[in-house]
């Protein structure tokens, strides 16, 4: 079924597996999604990030046709996720962040059941995954720990012959060894041309796996791009010791939180203002200099945190 992994071509344009425009989902008066845009391209692993309650799971459930969009357009694998749900689901697999199993079915039975309902699973891969994830498939659903329930759903999803994976914090409860196995599996899946939407809070996982990320807050997408692009949008921390007092640093647009202590300065600077700031330091005679690129954490804190205004986020 590898041929199925190539998306339909319309008028020479390859359409994206996931295309969401202006999606609104209201529960009563609460707008869980408020004009969300999201594009996931063919063959990429797309990180989907945002604080708790920002609407990640709601988005995925709209994509699964479990929730009906209040407004906006949603295209999934060139279909309508609400109207064509069952047909589309044969081409994708879903892993929720908190897997519920039937208390009296064994893990092995659940894997087979879900695989059959999805239209069959790859026997060889099933056996291999059970081995790699070290799952005991003979235990009853009620006796599995949280991590083991996740493994059951992951194996069922990864052993299915599908072109898209929708993963909603799939590794919560997994130990670091299993986390590594999961990452290898996602690599393998991508290597065969599959597309992944990965909602996650584990930044190392996102950094390691994702080609592009989208960050959502309060039901809207505030940032989208490759990690390199996103890094450019944030500030570098600079500390320096100069031979003479620095001049004009405070007047530069793009320099923030300037701290001057005699010949020592520390500040944060936007990527765009970095050359000008370095020039100012040069003029003062650089003794020592450290420049720290933003960590992923800082990147996300900036977008998650309340002090950042929406305009600043989406304007850049």
């Amino acid at each position: 079924m590898t041929s199925g992994r190539v998306s339909a071509v319309y008028g020479g344009r390859v359409s994206n597996p996931i295309e969401i425009r202006g999606l609104v989902k209201a529960f009563g008066t609460v707008r869980a999604l408020d004009g969300l845009d999201l594009e996931v391209e063919q063959g990429e692993v797309h990180g989907f990030l945002g604080p708790n309650g920002s609407g990640k799971s709601t988005t995925i459930r709209v994509l699964l046709g479990l929730l009906r969009a209040s407004a906006g357009s949603v295209r999934l694998l060139d279909g309508d996720p609400w109207a064509d749900a069952a047909a589309l689901h044969r081409r994708l697999a879903y892993v929720p962040g908190d897997v519920t199993l039937w208390p009296n079915l064994t893990g092995g039975e659940v894997i087979d059941l879900l695989g059959r309902l999805r239209g069959g699973l790859d026997e060889r891969r099933r056996a291999e995954l059970v081995e790699r994830f070290e799952l005991d498939p003979t235990k009853k659903g009620r006796t599995y720990s949280k991590g083991n329930r996740q493994k059951v759903a992951l194996i069922a999803a990864l052993a299915s012959d599908v072109e898209l994976l929708l993963l909603d914090e799939p590794t919560s409860g997994l130990d670091p060894l299993m986390e590594a196995v999961f990452q290898e599996c996602v690599d393998d899946f991508r290597a065969t041309g599959g597309t992944v939407l990965l909602s996650s809070h584990i930044l190392a996982e996102v950094e390691r796996l994702c080609d592009r990320v989208s960050i959502i807050r309060a039901g809207r997408c505030v940032e989208s791009g490759t990690l390199t692009q996103l890094r450019h949008l944030t500030r570098t921390t600079v500390r320096a010791e100069t031979t003479r007092p620095t001049e004009g640093l405070g007047d530069l647009a793009g320099v923030h939180d300037l701290l001057v202590e005699g010949h020592r300065v520390a500040f944060e600077v936007d990527t765009s203002a970095l050359p000008a700031a370095l020039a100012a330091l040069q003029d003062a005679g650089i003794g020592t200099l450290t420049a720290t690129p933003p960590t992923l954490e800082e990147l996300f804190m900036r977008h998650y945190g309340d002090e950042v205004s929406q305009a600043e986020g989406s304007g850049s």
């Binding site: 479990l66 749900a85 044969r90 092995g108 894997i111 059941l113 879900l114 309902l117 009853k140 006796t143």
Partner: protein, 525 residues
């Protein structure tokens, strides 16, 4: 035991409404028996005649207990209520104990509690105290209600205290079962089997071999002979048997690891049976236990009604109330009684029909529906499989009820043709039963959380059947009940039209529920 007192308060708070419901329910079982028997017979001669008929009916004795002083109100209460009271208080104790021990351990909440400054045995001790409170409360209420009738105080006290002691014995059994198994279901299974065995032992014993009754705790309770020369020493048997069981349960608890049972959980199959690959196969796998349980239960209930045979006339007496209650078609009392018995069996079958129609709602709130509906399984196919199971399962349950009724009647009267007659008379009641399950589906289609309101529909039907004439409920309102339309066979002649109309209503409500479900959001946890 550190923290046991605090846990006890916490448990009592959690359980207060449940405890009250169980105790009041069990008390009503005794009290209503006393009140209804008092009004049933106009003269003592009539009462004596009924009592003689009851004493001669072996099936009745097997069902209830040894026949003693049946021509007195107290004797009747003891006879009719003691065995069922013992089963019910046993179930109450079982649910209470397992709920606070094994179920808490499985859910992981017990782990949090034990990590706090709480002694190792505190949950167990607090659980035993809660169940003791529940049993004493029930016993006291039963005694007081009987004294208020008024019945003799010492005998009323014996019935109440004995009941509490039986409850504690079954609580101890449940506590031991909770140590043996690692799942609450298995603990319920073991305790239920013990309660069932106790009931069966005394049934066989009371009919022919009295020694067997002395192997059963329920037999000991009935051996106290309330209202027929009360004696207290069998109470000592109950107390003496309870203590070693509690000690063994405590010792087992002290030796085993948290979360595990003495009997290791058996591993299951690593691959799914081919039949599990369809939504119907899944429904069968999930619900076969309850289907078999309900079918057997209604078969036995039908059997017990049927075994009354033609004695019904003598048993019910000639009072105006019974005449009004049973002779609706204006013909024969026996036929009238069985027509009503069929409606009662159908109402019990609704318990199955509604509870299975609520399964999709449980799947939705537990989260398994989300996983299922994210596969190639469409919403309509998923729900349709559930509907098929509900319809076929309800048909089986109703058939079992009718078959039991016919068999019981045939066995007691020797009239073999009764099997077919009563089965055919019962089957049309599948239609009103399905109307209620259709109602559950319609509500489910609107909103998952509305679905349990279908129980109100059943309650309404029960009220109309039993109290409609007494409460003078207007005819149009009585007509809302789906059970108010079918001809009362065998008292009346069968009519097709109401049956077809009810079947149509059931189909339409069910289909509407399906359509609505396809259009709404799947509710999230």
């Amino acid at each position: 035991m550190t923290g046991a007192g605090q846990l006890l308060r916490h448990f009592l708070r959690r359980d207060r409404w449940m405890l009250l419901a169980w105790s009041v329910g069990i008390t009503l079982l005794y009290w209503s028996q006393a009140v209804s028997v008092k009004g049933l017979y106009a003269t003592q001669a009539e009462f004596d005649k009924a009592a003689a008929a009851m004493e001669a009916n072996t099936a009745f004795i097997a069902m209830t207990g040894p026949a003693r002083a049946l021509n007195t109100v107290g004797g009747q209460v003891t006879w009719q209520a003691a065995a069922f009271g013992a089963i019910t208080i046993g179930l109450m104790s079982m649910f209470l104990v397992v709920r606070h021990t094994r179920a808490e351990e499985e859910s992981g909440r017990d782990e949090m509690l034990r990590a706090a400054a709480v002694g190792r045995g505190a949950t167990t001790a607090a659980t035993l105290l809660v169940v003791l409170v529940a049993n004493l409360l029930t016993g006291t209420l039963v005694s007081l209600s009987l004294i208020s009738v008024p019945l003799a105080a010492p005998d009323s006290l014996a019935l109440g205290v004995g009941l509490a002691a039986v409850g504690m014995l079954f609580a101890a059994v449940a506590l031991l079962a909770a140590q043996l198994t690692s799942s609450p279901r298995a603990a319920y299974g073991i305790t239920g089997a013990v309660i069932g065995a106790a009931y069966m032992l005394r049934a066989v014993g009371d009919v022919g071999s009295p020694a067997l009754s002395w192997l059963s705790p329920i037999g000991w309770y009935q051996g106290m002979h309330a209202f027929s020369g009360v004696r207290w020493w069998p109470l000592a048997l109950l107390v003496l048997a309870t203590m070693p069981v509690v000690v063994v349960a405590g010792a087992t608890f002290g030796r085993r690891d948290h979360g595990s049972g003495v009997l290791a959980a058996r591993p299951g199959p690593s691959r799914a049976d081919p039949r599990l690959g369809t939504p119907l196969g899944l429904a069968w796998r999930q619900q076969r236990g309850s289907l078999i349980g309900w079918s057997v239960g209604l078969l036995l209930t039908g059997l017990s009604y049927g075994s009354l045979g033609t004695d019904v006339g003598d048993l019910l007496g000639d009072s105006a109330t019974t005449q009004e209650m049973f002779i609706r078609g204006g013909t024969d009392l026996v036929e009238g009684f069985y027509a009503t018995a069929i409606v009662m069996l159908a109402l019990m079958s609704c318990g199955y029909a509604v509870s299975t129609a609520l399964r999709p709602r449980h799947d939705e709130s537990s989260g398994v529906a989300e996983i299922l509906l994210a596969t190639g399984l469409s919403r309509s196919r998923w729900l349709l499989a559930q509907v098929v199971f509900t319809v076929c399962g309800s048909a089986l349950v109703v058939t079992a009820a009718g078959l039991g009724l016919g068999l019981g009647y045939a066995l007691s009267t020797g009239d073999g043709s009764a099997v077919g007659t009563y089965l055919v008379a019962t089957l049309p009641y599948l239609a009103p039963v399905l109307v209620l399950s259709g109602l559950a589906r319609l509500l489910f289609g609107l909103r998952a959380r509305f679905a349990p309101l279908a129980w109100a529909g059943l309650l309404f039907a029960v009220v109309v059947l039993f109290f409609g004439p007494v409460l003078r409920i207007p005819e149009w309102l009585q007509d809302v009940s789906p059970f108010h339309h079918l001809a009362l066979v065998p008292a009346e002649d069968f009519r097709w039209q109401p049956l077809l109309a009810l079947a149509l209503v059931a189909a339409v409500t069910s289909a509407l529920g399906q359509v609505l479900f396809r259009r709404r959001d799947v509710e999230m946890r």
